[in-house]
């Protein structure tokens, strides 16, 4: 009974916009981290096999149809690490998450099945399952998740944990303001005594998806310092690198693949693999004084090489685009077409659309100000910053500086885990902590209860 833990061998699955995490409760890292993107091939007749012999679905998701949901006729899903990441002829790529919520349950249930059976290799009927959900989860998505777990995987018990609450648990705080700067969204969720407050929950589609989109546009168009657009060819399409060290490399492409590559896969590969890697390697935030073009020339440069062999010392681009997080008015280029998924978010009391993005510190400020006066001070002193994009160097320092400017005289304390995976997978980690606590087990929604009461018992338990 160390740490008041009680292992019931629960599983924790955390669906994110970018990656889906899964693992055993009580462990400190998820066992499985795979993209939430999925590939699919529409085949007119279900019996037809792929064009290539080796193109059998790696996960077997399409064959073992564990999901109780309606299966679209003749669609083959490729999920998991080897889903969209592997090139397949005619494979389209899509994401089942929209606005942080599981939007398309069918590929999600395929992914869940893949993760549980192929990757973790467990029998889900023996393990209670905790699934995370965002604070703004819809009733429809909840139902889909419950259905996926109970009917699809036949888990004995399930619980829906709110991601913001779990992140604050992972940081060891019952009361905190969780700023999650992720892939699709950046969200601020006030958590008081382990309950996420709906009034103060704010979100906006300002995350690395938008950042990568802007960067992608920047790279694929000529700039004053670069006369030609970059090809951004992903490694899957390159047969051989250009041996000559030229300024504009011309790698030998795999001609056999080029005609069968779909536009959505190409875009996914360029953004998700090429530009995203550049962003994580080079992206940085200018500290405190903010970005301006006058002093941008003096900022430190770094060498980066793209998969096609193009390499350059990047300077101001490293700072100009990330500045969008703190100054979307000036650094978010509205003329560039944003990803369609991000445009679904509409402005409301708890969300900002792409048209009226606010800086991250403003988001935190608005979120705290929407809460009751008596809890504001506690929230200000427990700001937890998580999410993959929050790993951008200098983000926390800048946030601290900007918040101090917005709320002068207030005591502000920002807590952000130093270990990268604790920030990236913080909600998974919180779920792992919660699901291994001895005092938690009375909250599981069992299969019997679900069959008897339906969704009402889930809504009642997971509040």
């Amino acid at each position: 009974m160390v740490y008041n833990g009680d292992e019931v061998s629960a599983l924790v699955v955390d669906f994110g916009s970018h990656t889906t995490r899964a693992g055993y409760a009580g462990e400190d890292t998820p066992r499985v981290v795979c993209p939430s993107f999925y590939g699919y091939v529409d085949e007119p007749d279900a019996s037809a096999s792929g064009t290539n012999g080796e193109d059998v679905p790696m996960d077997g998701a399409a064959e073992t149809n564990g999901g109780g949901s309606v299966k679209r006729k003749g669609r083959k899903y490729f999920v998991g690490e080897n889903g969209p990441g592997l090139w397949r002829a005619g494979m389209e790529v899509d994401n089942f998450m929209v606005d942080g919520v599981v939007h398309d349950p069918e590929p999600a249930s395929h992914l869940l099945h893949h993760v549980l059976h192929e990757r973790l290799g467990v029998d889900p009927t023996e393990h209670p399952l905790m699934i995370t959900e965002p604070a703004w989860n819809t009733q429809k998505a909840r139902e889909a998740l419950a259905q996926m777990a109970f009917e699809g995987e036949k888990v004995p018990a399930m619980y829906l944990g709110s991601a913001g609450v779990l992140s604050s648990f992972a940081a060891g705080k019952p009361t905190a303001l969780v700023l999650d700067v992720g892939y699709a969204n950046s969200s601020a969720v006030p958590v008081v005594d382990g309950y996420a407050l709906r009034a103060g929950t704010m979100r906006q589609p300002l995350g690395s998806a938008l950042l990568v989109n802007q960067l992608h546009h920047h790279f694929t168009n000529p700039t004053p310092s670069r006369a030609f657009p970059l090809s951004l060819t992903p490694r899957q399409l390159i047969a051989k690198r250009d041996p000559a060290d030229s300024v504009q490399p011309k790698p030998l492409l795999r001609e056999d693949r080029a005609p069968h590559t779909t536009a959505s896969w190409r875009l996914w590969a360029e953004q998700f693999q090429v530009v995203d890697s550049w962003k994580e390697a080079c992206g940085e935030i200018v500290n405190t004084r903010g970005f301006d073009f006058a002093s941008a020339k003096e900022l430190p440069q770094t060498l980066y090489e793209f998969p096609d062999g193009y390499h350059q010392y990047f300077g101001e681009e490293r700072y100009r685009f990330t500045e969008m997080l703190f100054d979307p008015k000036n650094y978010f280029n509205q003329t560039i077409e944003p990803p369609a998924v991000l445009r679904t978010v509409v402005s409301g009391p708890h969300s900002h659309s792409l048209k009226d993005l606010v800086p991250l510190h403003q988001l935190v400020h608005d979120s705290i100000m929407a809460c009751d006066v008596d809890v504001r001070a506690a929230l200000l002193q427990n700001i937890v910053v998580v999410g993959n994009t929050s790993l951008t160097r200098g983000l926390c320092e800048r946030l601290d500086f900007e918040l101090a400017g917005l709320l002068p005289g207030q005591k502000i304390k920002i807590h952000s885990p130093t270990i990268p995976f604790e920030r990236k997978y913080s909600s998974w980690l919180g779920g792992s902590v919660l699901a291994s606590l001895g005092t938690f087990h009375q909250l599981w929604v069992t299969k019997d209860e679900y069959e008897e009461h339906g969704m009402s018992i889930v809504n009642q338990r997971c509040k």
Partner: protein, 451 residues
């Protein structure tokens, strides 16, 4: 064989402390465990500190052999149900079989199932009698109580989750956290008042704890919310004001201390500035101070001559006693004098005699000796004599001063005459020096102007 023996063999000097007597007196019981007697005797009183200090080191024991034959604890994968759940929960965990009889996990964790303060209950009858409120339907009140029970009276969360929909589609009223608190505490107070209590005092106390003033709470929240909207300029101003007040207070204190000091040394009386503490300083201090001059502005009444003094006047004349009127301080100028009687330290009256200036004192003494008058002491220092003597001294001083003036004027005349006749060269050197000084001055100013 002890260390002493070895020392004697090696003809080393005996240590003072190691006399055989002392050796005997120390019992051998001090020998630590694990060292043989002979070895310990060799070490002797040279006190091998390590071995003694770490007697555990000497007593180190090897770990016991693992008991291979002992049976390993048996663990079993057992199904259990948390204590708070009545139904069968399909959860299992590993349990050590030896612990099965003892306190089990679910019992252990049940002790953490604590709920917050209990929410009051009311019956339908009570509601109809006392709790009806035009603003709240019974249904909504029940909803509120249910919500509060769910969230253990956490009003912040209950207000956040408040989503009441009237069953027959009535108007949805937005409820603030103050509305909820007002309703809940109002009901609690009314219930307490109507229910008969065994201990009225305790009932009063509980009633006190349910006191809630909605308007005041709203006002309080407004004020504390304003604190979050201060700009940095306002905060800076506030801080500057605070520093200024502190500085003023300090100045005030220093000024008071200085004034006290000055008054005490010069006039021998307290400054009369009343010490006022910090708390009342802001509120009362300044008005008080402003008022004070008015209080004392009127002309101070002359000190009345008391009856006793009148009686003693005849006595004084008879015995030649002369009383000096206390005119040290002009009463009318100091408003303090009436309040604080003039403090005169004890002194000899002779110290009040005006003494001639020390430079003139020698000349006066010479003059007096010329006139055959003893300047040191009067044979009969009566009042009249002293006055005469005083006058004499004054006159002598005046004479000497006059003489000095005359001497100086004569000397000047002599000098000028000598210059006129050419005996003494005119003071050209002095003039040139002054010239040079002025020239440097101009140069300096000139440089400055150039800059």
């Amino acid at each position: 064989m002890s260390s002493n023996d070895i020392r004697s063999i090696l003809s080393l000097p005996q240590t003072a402390a190691s006399s055989s007597q002392a050796r005997r007196s120390v019992p051998l019981a001090k020998k630590p465990e694990g060292i043989s007697r002979e070895l310990y005797a060799l070490i002797g009183d040279n006190a091998p500190s390590l071995a003694q200090a770490q007697s555990s080191l000497a007593a180190v024991k090897y770990r016991d052999r693992p008991k291979l034959k002992a049976k390993s604890a048996k663990w079993a994968w057992k199904q259990f149900s948390p204590a708070a759940r009545k139904d069968a929960v399909p959860l299992s965990h590993w349990v050590r079989m030896s612990d099965v009889d003892g306190i089990s996990n679910d019992q252990y964790f049940a002790q953490f199932n604590e709920h917050g303060p209990s929410v009051m209950e009311y019956s339908q009858f009570e509601y109809d009698q006392h709790l009806a409120d035009p603003d709240w339907t019974p249904h909504e009140t029940a909803y509120l109580f249910d919500l509060l029970r769910t969230y253990d009276l956490r009003f912040v969360i209950a207000a956040d989750r408040y989503d009441y929909r009237p069953p027959n589609g009535g108007v949805v009223r937005p409820r603030s956290i103050e509305d909820l608190k007002d309703r809940y505490y109002g009901i609690c107070r009314r219930l307490l008042r109507t229910r008969t209590a065994s201990d009225p005092q305790a009932q009063q106390q509980v009633l006190q704890s349910y006191a809630f003033d909605k308007q005041r709470e709203i006002k309080r929240k407004q004020y504390s919310s304003e604190l979050f909207h201060l700009t940095s300029a306002e905060i800076a101003e506030e801080e500057a004001l605070y520093v200024e007040v502190k500085r003023l207070e300090q100045n005030e204190r220093r000024y008071r201390a200085d004034r006290d000091d000055l008054m005490r040394t010069v006039l021998g009386l307290d400054s009369g500035l009343v010490e006022f503490d910090q708390a009342s300083a802001e509120a009362l201090g300044f008005t008080k101070k402003r008022k004070r001059p008015d209080d004392f502005e009127g002309p101070a009444s002359p000190i009345p001559v008391t009856k006793k003094q009148k009686e003693s006047a005849a006595f004084d004349i008879a015995h030649g006693i002369y009383r000096v009127p206390s005119t040290a301080v002009n009463i009318s100028t100091s408003h303090l004098a009436s309040k604080h009687p003039i403090h005169l330290p004890a002194h000899l009256r002779s110290t009040k005699i005006a003494l001639p200036r020390p430079t003139a004192a020698i000349r006066i003494a010479e003059l007096l000796t010329e006139l055959n008058i003893n300047s040191q002491k009067l044979v009969m220092p009566t009042r009249a004599n002293l006055e005469v003597f005083d006058r004499l001294l004054l006159a002598a001083g005046g004479l000497i001063d006059m003489k000095r003036q005359v001497d100086r004027v004569e000397q000047e005349i002599r000098n000028l005459k000598a210059q006129q006749q050419g005996y003494v060269p005119p003071v050209t050197s002095r003039k040139t020096r002054s010239l040079s000084v002025t020239s440097t001055d101009t140069s300096a100013t000139g440089r400055r102007s150039r800059q």
